[in-house]
């Protein structure tokens, strides 16, 4: 099954290697990984998606926690959450066939962020399937797509959830204890 982990890690050299190395060691392919600054200074937030057996979730989360630079780990599992991905798609387009692409962009609620006489650049945010959909229809016209750049998934739980560990460190309120219990069940 597809696992999604959200982790807070120290913003230091080599930390990403440690996280990535754990998955390499377990022989698990990382299908998507996004990292960026979080609401807490000195901590980066990452969303990591991987394919592994259903029972592997507990062990991966426990092993991530064992890394000294990892401050918090959330196994999103099936919890209600919002997942988004950003895609930049460069498409070959001349003044004659632009209008058709503008229509597609409109339908998919994407945006044109750059326009030249030979190409245009589409920015799109959404769930994976929606981005796949746009790419699919663009592909139907041969050779139109010049470049695709996708961010990978970013995930956040719905509702007023924040991490139990971060709360213990003095950040916000949470019902994370409940979720921790659920995730730690053997």
């Amino acid at each position: 099954m597809l696992h999604t982990f959200v982790a807070y890690v120290e913003d230091l050299p080599g930390v990403l290697t440690r996280v990535a190395s754990l998955f390499r060691r377990l022989n698990i392919n990382i299908s998507s990984l996004t990292v960026g600054r979080s609401e807490r200074p000195g901590l980066s937030r990452l969303t990591l998606v991987c394919e592994a057996s259903a029972s592997a979730g507990h062990r991966i989360r426990a092993s991530l926690f064992k890394l000294e630079n990892v401050v918090d780990v959330d196994d999103i599992a099936q919890a209600p959450s919002v997942t988004r991905e950003l895609a930049l798609i460069k498409v070959a387009a001349s003044p004659r066939n632009r209008a058709q692409i503008f229509d597609l962009v409109e339908v998919f609620r994407a945006r044109i962020v750059d326009l030249t006489s030979e190409s245009l650049l589409i920015e799109m945010t959404g769930v994976e399937s929606k981005i796949e959909g746009l790419i699919e229809v663009l592909r139907e016209d041969d050779g139109r797509i010049l470049e695709i750049c996708r961010s990978g998934k970013m995930t956040m739980r719905r509702g007023h959830h924040t991490s139990g560990v971060l709360r213990a460190m003095g950040a916000g309120v949470a019902d994370a204890a409940e979720q921790d219990r659920a995730a730690a069940q053997p």
Binding site: G14, S21, R25, A62, F65, K66, A184, P186
Partner: protein
């Protein structure tokens, strides 16, 4: 000229990085380090004489890591190894991995090239923090003198805390040479963060107590965590109060007295048949500080299928890894047992009556015992079992025995009966040949008042035999028993059992170990018959300094019982039941 390290621990002072290194080690309670100098660590060595630290010069950096490991296993303190950059650092790796697999608290300090040339393939430069990433609990690259004290103190905290393990601190040469204000107190690491998934709840404790109360055929499985957590008393109380027999892992040996009536002995691949039979028949397993290693469980599919399982373990990543358990109590073993014990009542107070189960297990012992080689008549052959049995008898089970890896290691585990924790020092998880001799040197420094024996095979002994010089240079009293089969014995045994006796690359030519020892200034003796063993062991013990015994034992002897790798616990190859070399009419 000397620096008063103690003053510096209380008064912030400007020191060089090299001085900060040693001052911090002194502050962390280190009095002995094992190392080998070289270019990138020279500033540190230059400052060493100002500090009350004994430096043991090794003959190979692998030895330094094993010594630090042996020191930690024998004393319970953090062992420290020091090496230079490049090859010095890479030579440590086998020793670091050995400590990692057995959860040994250790700090390795390596020098590295100057921070200005890091990453340029400078002379003797290697990315040691990158290389050791998977075999350390954590590691640090320090390139500024002002970061050094905090990194080192954090390293000691990580090495000791939770599930212990090795930590490496790589220090660039310029960080050793630069100066910074040394403030030991200010460098104190943040409060240790316990693993957030540690979890012992009332419900789990109640469930565990209920399972124990209702069990008819329970077995305690005691592992390395018992001595690491200092939970010997608690395990013993649990066993005695509820009358539960105790099986031990290889690294658990000594954490429950061998002479205790509830002690079953070692479980797993070369465990006695009654232990493995008891586990397969059990209706409850209480796993204490052990990780259901594949050498212990055979194959997970058929392992103790009738048993409910309680797992008390400090590392949440071990829960349900190899064996699915019914109750997981994730925390420090000693603390968990302290909470569990008040819920366990003794037999007189309505607790369980374990006598019929114990009787059943006892019944299994009889048959195996008569097959035991030590109970067979002396036909003039010398078996390693005899050597181990005599060594145990003569030392009263009180020696610290440091073994290498292979057949002799298993014979030691079977025939040397350990009464106390930290008296068997052996590489369990990684199975590192060459471990014994250097680890024994470390162990001797860790417990100088104890009698230390090396038990090694002829193969493993040659891997690190250069450390004989270290024994002589440090004037150590260490007794060495080489169990000499002329083969890489355990591999030969596998070839015999599973590869149709195709003894490829296992016959082994060795030097005369007595002469080799003599060349180092260590006296020794060869032993060829069972009758000579006792006198030779006594002679070694009585010698003033180190002494080597070369036991020329039967060449094609095998370790029994044996569970073939990947088989079930009940599919054991049992002892042949007679002296294999005895000639009889039906042969």
């Amino acid at each position: 000229m000397g620096i008063d390290a103690m003053t510096h621990l209380t008064t912030p002072t400007r020191l060089t990085g090299a001085e900060i290194l040693w001052a911090t080690l002194v502050g962390e309670g280190v009095d002995t380090v094992f190392g080998y100098p070289g270019g990138a660590i020279l500033p540190a060595y230059d400052a060493l004489r100002k500090f009350p630290i004994r430096h043991v010069l090794v003959r190979h950096e692998q030895g330094a890591a094993h010594m630090a490991d042996g020191y930690a296993r024998a004393s319970g303190k953090v062992g420290v190894a020091v090496a230079t950059s490049g090859p010095g650092a890479t030579n440590l790796i086998t020793g670091i991995a050995t400590a990692m697999l057995d959860s040994i608290p250790m700090v390795c300090v390596t020098g590295n090239v100057s921070s200005k040339v890091l990453g340029t393939d400078a002379f003797q430069e290697v990315d040691i923090t990158g290389i050791t990433l998977p075999v350390t609990k954590h590691n640090f690259l320090v390139s500024r003198a002002e970061d050094l004290a905090a990194a080192l103190r954090h390293a000691f905290q990580i090495a000791r805390s939770g599930r212990p393990g090795p930590v490496l601190v790589d220090i660039t040469k310029d960080a050793q040479q630069a100066t910074a204000i040394f403030d030991f107190e200010a460098a104190k690491p943040k409060l240790y963060r316990p693993h957030p998934m540690l979890k012992v709840e009332d419900a789990g404790l109640a469930q565990a107590a209920e399972l124990i109360r209702n069990a008819e055929r329970p077995v305690i499985l005691a592992g390395h965590g018992v001595s690491e957590a200092g939970a010997m008393e608690q395990v013993r109380t649990l066993a005695e109060r509820a009358q539960i027999p105790v099986g031990l892992t290889l690294l658990g040996l000594g954490s429950f007295p061998a002479s205790h009536p509830l002690n079953l002995g070692m479980m797993g691949m070369h465990g006695e048949a009654w232990v493995n039979d008891a586990i397969q028949e059990a209706d409850l397993l209480i796993a204490c500080g052990m990780r259901f290693d594949d050498r212990v469980i055979g194959t997970p599919a058929t392992y103790a299928t009738k048993a409910k399982k309680i797992h008390i373990e400090i590392d949440p990543a071990e829960i349900n890894k190899n064996v699915k358990v019914d109750v997981a109590l994730v925390g420090d073993l000693r603390a968990v047992l302290e909470e569990l014990l008040p819920r366990i009542s003794s037999r007189g107070q309505g607790g369980r009556d374990g006598s019929s189960w114990l009787k059943w297990i006892d019944g299994r012992k009889g048959e195996s015992a008569v097959r035991d080689i030590k109970n067979l008549p002396d036909m003039g052959h010398l078996y390693a079992a005899h050597v181990m049995h005599d060594l145990w008898r003569i030392t009263g089970g009180n020696a610290v025995v440091v073994t290498d890896v292979g057949q002799h290691q298993m014979w030691e585990a079977q025939y040397y009966h350990h009464e106390h924790p930290r008296t068997l020092i052996t590489s369990g998880g990684l199975g590192t040949m060459g471990f014994a001799l250097p680890a024994a040197i470390g162990a001797k420094f860790g417990c100088p008042e104890k009698e230390v024996w090396v038990v090694a095979g002829d193969g493993g002994f040659q891997m690190t035999a250069a450390e004989l010089s270290t024994i002589v240079q440090e004037r150590l009293k260490i007794n060495i028993a080489v169990i000499n089969t002329g083969y890489l014995g355990m591999v030969r045994q596998w070839q015999e059992f599973f590869y149709e006796r195709n003894y490829e690359a296992t016959p082994l030519v060795s030097p005369d170990f007595v002469k080799l020892a003599d060349a180092h200034g260590i006296p020794g003796r060869a032993v060829r018959t069972r009758g000579e063993v006792a006198a030779a062991v006594e002679e070694a013990r009585a010698a003033n300094g180190a002494f080597l015994l070369n036991f020329l034992v039967e060449k094609e002897d095998s370790v029994y019982p044996m569970i073939p790798a990947g088989s079930s616990l009940h599919e054991m190859i049992l002892r042949p039941g007679r002296d294999p070399l005895e000639e009889r009419a039906d042969d």
